[in-house]
């Protein structure tokens, strides 16, 4: 499945400054693994040492927060938009 991933400012050093990149994968975990192939080091910024999403990262597949879905196993259908966003905002 081909998806578009929106990259937050603090991760754009890994994507050559690009705010949006293409990636492949049927689940969020596969998408992140594919991102890592093309943008080495990015996975370790998003995932902790246990391979779980870091607690201050919000990830949305289309408009759905993956924490309300299946986390890293959330399906990423063809053409989906994936957004990675720092959680430390608001209030």
């Amino acid at each position: 499945m081909a998806v578009n991933v929106r990259i937050p400012t603090i991760l754009r050093t890994y994507t050559g400054g690009q705010a949006e990149v293409a990636a492949e994968g049927a689940t969020l975990a596969e998408v992140i693994a594919d991102l890592e192939k093309n943008h080495t080091g990015i996975a370790a910024r998003v995932l902790d040492d246990q391979g779980k999403l870091r607690r201050f990262v919000n990830v949305y597949v289309n408009d759905d927060d993956v924490r309300f879905e299946q986390g890293l196993e959330t399906a990423t259908p063809d053409g989906a938009g994936v957004s990675i966003i720092p959680a430390v905002a608001g209030g």
Binding site: P8, R45, R67, I85, A87, V88, A89, G91
Partner: protein
């Protein structure tokens, strides 16, 4: 703006490029990485929240106390402890703070607290009638320092008004974002200041997400979002609640504090403020307990506390306490840490209990609280009844906003006692002449 990472060792010697008084840099609360002062809010290594680090004034605490006491009757009396330039009081700002600490003996009697032990920190008297004026005042100074010309925010209502007003006074353009279903009063209070007010089709968490994305887009270039890219500075404004409470109690830390939780930022910064006062020797180091208060209809932190979790599972909010309706609270994990570290707790009350508590506070102390104040008073009552809050120790309950902001909450139950003809007979017949 590119993020500049500086090694911790170098940070001691690196002169900040901007004048924010004693602020020396930013550090990640999660992993400790240090960054130069700038409009950044999340750690590039772990996404953790960045906080302002200081070179706090060293020296005789008594001298500092006197200097503070001689300062203006607003938050700038604490300028030596805040990320603001020394001449902050001369700049156009709303100058919030130094609000009353109400000795609430009538309320204490009603809920079973010992006389002289219960206080309400009433922030409804700030310029735009909520505590948000404190945090926005800090953010304005950071926005000035970083050269922003537009001020923005994601808001549940109170912040939108605070930003609109402060921007108007300080000469910034403002463009604020709110959920489309806010209370009408808050919409009016945010829109009246002449800035742009944009209603987003979604809840607060949707608004917040939108703003976070806008910051990373050229469309948001040059904008200072007070609670996103200026959040580290903005958050420091809540420390002034801790400073004021302790000073108003005679430079003493209260035994127990009851604080509302939306994003959790306020609670964590009050704790930070108390720790700073101890470190500076301005107050005696003594134990205190912090209790977080949520509405049942948006209680992700309370649920996590009760379940023993250290991660907060987001919720879809459904409560009349809209100013607390953040289902995905950024500082939730730290609230849990603080409640547990201090021996406190996190509790919630339902909408009916919130309304009852608003009326109870109004009836006993003449303080008309917004729904968030109903939450803190309601939770205080609940925790006293449960034996969790000690009724014989000093307790400070926060009321963070004015009841005029959430009139709908009590409109149905606050009607005329009687409608009569203008005659003495009618008055007598109504049974009110006692």
């Amino acid at each position: 703006m590119a993020v500049q990472t500086v090694a911790p060792a170098a940070a001691d010697n690196a002169a900040p490029a901007v004048d924010l008084g004693p602020a020396s840099g930013l550090s990640c609360r999660e992993c400790g990485e240090v960054f130069a002062l700038g409009p950044i809010f999340a750690c590039e290594l772990c996404f953790g929240p960045l906080e302002v680090a200081y070179d706090l004034p060293a020296g005789d605490p008594e001298e500092l106390r006197k200097r503070i006491e001689a300062g203006p009757a607003n938050i700038w009396r604490y300028a030596p402890l805040l990320p603001v330039p020394a001449d902050v009081a001369e700049k156009p700002n709303l100058n919030p703070g130094w609000t009353p600490l109400v000795k609430a003996d009538n309320l204490a009697r009603e809920i079973g607290v010992a006389p002289g032990r219960l206080f309400v920190k009433d922030d409804s008297g700030n310029p735009t009638h909520s505590f948000k004026d404190r945090v926005v005042a800090q953010a304005i100074e950071a926005a000035r320092a970083f050269g922003f010309t537009t001020l923005s925010c994601s808001s549940t209502g109170n912040l939108a008004g605070a930003v609109g007003a402060a921007a108007a006074r300080a000469g910034f353009r403002s463009c604020v974002f709110i959920p489309h279903d806010l209370e009408q009063g808050k919409v009016v209070m945010a829109g009246v200041y002449g800035g742009d007010l944009v209603a987003i089709e979604g809840n607060y968490d949707d608004v917040n997400r939108f703003c976070s994305e806008l910051i990373g887009d050229p469309l948001g270039e040059g904008w200072g979002f007070v609670n996103v890219n200026l959040r580290p500075y903005y958050g420091e404004g809540s420390k002034t609640l801790a400073y004021e409470i302790c000073e108003q109690l005679g430079w003493v830390i209260p035994d127990q504090l009851v604080i509302p939780i939306a994003s959790g930022s306020q609670l964590t910064k009050i704790d930070k403020g108390l720790q700073e006062l101890i470190k500076l020797g301005l107050v005696e180091d003594k134990p205190y307990k912090i209790f977080g208060a949520q509405a049942e209809g948006c209680s992700p932190v309370s649920a996590a506390f009760k379940a023993g979790h250290d991660v907060v599972r987001p919720q879809k909010p459904n409560t009349i306490a809209k100013s607390l309706a953040i289902g995905n609270p950024a500082d939730g994990p730290y609230v849990l840490d603080i409640a547990r570290r201090t021996g406190g707790a996190v509790e919630d009350v339902n909408d009916e209990q919130i309304v009852d508590a608003i009326k109870l506070l109004a009836r006993t102390e003449g303080v008309f609280a917004e729904t968030a104040g109903g939450v803190t008073v309601g939770v205080t009552r609940k925790l006293v009844e449960a034996g969790v809050i000690d009724p014989n120790l000093t307790t400070v309950v926060l009321n963070t906003g004015d009841g005029l902001k959430t009139l709908d909450a009590v409109a149905d139950s606050s009607q005329a006692t009687a409608t009569i003809r203008p005659s003495l007979d009618a008055f007598r017949d109504a049974g009110l002449a006692h």
